[in-house]
């Protein structure tokens, strides 16, 4: 008996490592494709990269020197190879607008986006999951209709418009929250010059420094945009939770649990939830990835100095290295989150593991 179980375990291990290997291969191909697309976009763009660097009054020799240094005379595939090689070394070129390297800029702007999207996802999950469960346990009821309609409204809402309305009502009229930006100017100075910046995320940094007035101000600034993004992700999460939970509640093991006399909250939150969690992880990860990219418009409205603002500002300055570099970074984050959710899915669900 033990003889037959050992090779079986080996086989499972082999299969698991094969899965991981194919996952990594998929990831590599996807990232390569991502780079190829941005590379092609960068080549066909009607902005002359040489002219953008040297300016109009350069001599032909200067222009040729820049051409050589950028490798623009090399064959297409060789240029692409260099581009990939540089990208692997975190070199995404230099931003024309800021004069810094794009990776440096991204490292500076990304924490703001990350902070916003993370808080948004937390809001969305905390409200979306219970709302979805509530709707699933009483299908057709008033609460189900409300959850469904509020969710659909979240799908249909132009985020930038809702942001403006939010600013108008909660900042302009009611004055409950702080306006655009991450911090009031005074606190911003304090953050910049007096406090240690550990993560670049204001909420975490100010808390670590024990500067609670800065924390309060930062919270007052972030609550509106994060709540907005939270609503968008809540719409998606509650909808999916509802359908997963309804599916689970029609299973026979749920009937068994009920017949045994188990309290309903335990049936739902312990037994059914355990199985709902598995697909839900993917949904939450997807909505997180979506918020990271979808924050472009929100950041514009709230003057939030994140990656989205960085990309749009670069766009208007015709700063293609920054636009494409930013796009690559968002793409990589997007792909990585999906990949991670896939791995977690396999770890949590024994059926996917086998």
């Amino acid at each position: 008996m033990t003889d037959s179980s050992i090779p079986q375990r080996d086989r499972r291990l082999v299969r698991l490592s094969l899965q991981i290997a194919s996952g990594i291969a998929t990831l590599a191909i996807t990232l390569l494709g991502l780079l190829l697309i941005t590379f092609i976009i960068g080549r066909v763009v009607p902005i002359d990269p040489v002219l953008a660097i040297v300016g109009e009054r350069a001599t032909p020799e200067q222009m040729q020197a820049v051409r050589d240094s950028l490798g623009l005379d090399l064959p297409f595939w060789q240029q692409f190879g260099i581009y990939v090689w540089d990208a692997l070394h975190l070199d995404l070129g230099n931003s024309i607008r800021t004069g810094r390297s794009v990776s440096e800029d991204v490292a500076r702007y990304f924490p703001a986006t990350l902070e916003l999207a993370t808080l948004g996802t937390i809001f969305g999950t905390l409200i979306g999951v219970p709302a979805g469960v509530l709707a699933a346990t009483r299908p057709g009821s008033i609460s189900d209709q409300i959850v469904r309609l509020v969710g659909l409204m979240g799908y249909s809402m132009p985020v930038f418009w809702l942001g403006l309305i939010g600013l108008l009502v909660f900042y302009g009229k009611l004055d409950w929250v702080a306006g655009p930006g991450r911090l009031d100017p005074a606190f911003s100075m304090q953050m910049e010059f007096q406090l240690t910046q550990y993560t670049g995320m204001v909420l975490i940094d100010s808390a670590l420094n024990g500067a609670w007035d800065v924390f309060r101000n930062a919270f007052s600034h972030i609550i509106l945009p994060a709540g907005l993004l939270g609503y968008v992700s809540m719409a998606y999460i509650s909808r999916m939770t509802r359908s997963f939970m309804m599916n689970e509640l029609s299973q026979e093991y749920i009937t068994t649990a009920r017949v045994k006399g188990m309290p309903e909250w335990r049936v739902i939150w312990v037994h059914a939830m355990k199985n709902v969690m598995v697909p839900l992880i993917t949904v939450i990860a997807l909505s997180y990835a979506y918020l990271l990219e979808g924050s472009v418009l929100t950041e514009t409205i709230f003057a939030w100095p994140g990656l989205g603002s960085y990309i749009t500002d670069a766009l208007f300055a015709a700063d293609m290295p920054a636009v494409l570099g930013g796009t690559v970074v968002v793409g990589v984050v997007f792909v990585t989150i999906n990949m991670l959710s896939d791995i977690i899915y396999r770890l949590v669900d024994p059926r996917a593991r086998a």
Binding site: G33, V45, P46, P158, Y290, T327, G331
Partner: protein, 301 residues
């Protein structure tokens, strides 16, 4: 009328057309019971009417500026929804703007699904390395954040309606390819396909004539649900100044032009935003209802 109903619900249809129309009649009966879906249908119908009859419905010329009547609040006689910073009537601009929205939606609806259908059915039908290559490409596009890819494309192509449509379509096709491939895989090995193949039909003929029709219902549902997203992205591009250019009355653009007056003259931004919201809600409600009715897998619940 009653003979028509009897003909439609005849359990023994005498022709293919009768059977098909009978099915559509039953689907219509089912969707009519879904109140939310009907609300969606009404909204979409209103959009179509507004777009078709804008010159007759609009009280003013949408481009006519009158600086003596600028920034009037809603409810002013003659300007039901108020006027914008150039004194143009907001209601008229919204009505004319529905044409632009519909134009974008229609263009995306005929391009992205076609490309997705082509890629998906070919990948699913041939399988093997064709499938692997096409699906990898699809995954790459799917991995790209949609709005940001559209932004980068518009940056390359330059702002404008057609370029915005192109950018949206290029980012919208991958889900259709996924759907079409899944449907193709379920019919690929069925007997009727084998029969057609044995009659000597070529692969393009089988795909176009016998596989694509099977994929259409799921793709149509997807299109309807996607339209809301398309409207939102188009409005977002317009809002950023990368889509439709002024002075065209595009709704996203109107929101952005009212942004500087937000705190004193809220209606300039609010009204076109409401229009976007209502229309995309309409498409979402309709798509949701259509899915419940047409998709047998979800109708059981």
């Amino acid at each position: 009328m009653s003979t028509l109903t009897a003909w439609l619900t005849d359990p023994n249809p005498s022709s293919r057309r009768q059977a098909k129309l009978g099915q559509m009649w039953l689907a219509w009966l089912r969707i009519r019971r879904n109140r939310l879906a009907m609300a969606g249908l009404v909204i979409v119908a209103l959009l179509l009417i507004a777009a078709a009859f804008a010159p007759w419905l609009a009280p003013h010329d949408p481009y006519m500026q009158d600086l003596s009547r600028r920034l009037l609040p809603p409810g002013t006689p003659g300007n039901l929804l108020g006027t914008d910073d150039f004194g143009r009537d907001i209601l008229s601009r919204i009505l004319y703007g529905s044409r632009i929205t519909l134009y974008i939606v229609a263009l995306v609806a005929v391009t992205a699904p076609v490309l997705g259908l082509l890629v998906g059915t070919v990948a699913g039908y041939f399988g093997g390395w064709v499938d692997a290559v096409l699906m990898r490409i699809t995954d790459i596009f799917l991995a790209f954040p949609r709005l940001i890819l559209a932004l980068a494309l518009v940056a390359v192509l330059g702002p404008g309606v057609e370029n915005a449509v192109l950018a949206i379509a290029l980012t919208a096709w991958p889900p259709y390819a996924r759907v079409a491939r899944a449907e193709t895989l379920t019919v690929r090995n069925s007997d009727y396909i084998a029969a057609v193949r044995l009659q000597g039909a070529s692969a393009p003929r089988i795909i176009a004539g016998h596989v694509v029709p099977m994929c259409l219902p799921s793709v149509i549902i997807r299109v309807t649900l996607d339209m809301a997203g398309v409207i939102l992205i188009a409005a977002g591009l317009g809002f950023l100044g990368l889509g439709v250019q002024p002075p065209l009355p595009e709704w996203g653009l109107m929101i952005s032009s009212g942004r500087q007056y937000l705190f004193e003259h809220w209606w300039v931004s609010t009204m076109p935003g409401l229009a976007i919201f209502i229309v995309s809600l309409g498409f979402n409600l309709l798509g949701d209802g259509l899915r419940d009715v047409l998709d047998p897998r979800s109708s059981g619940k």
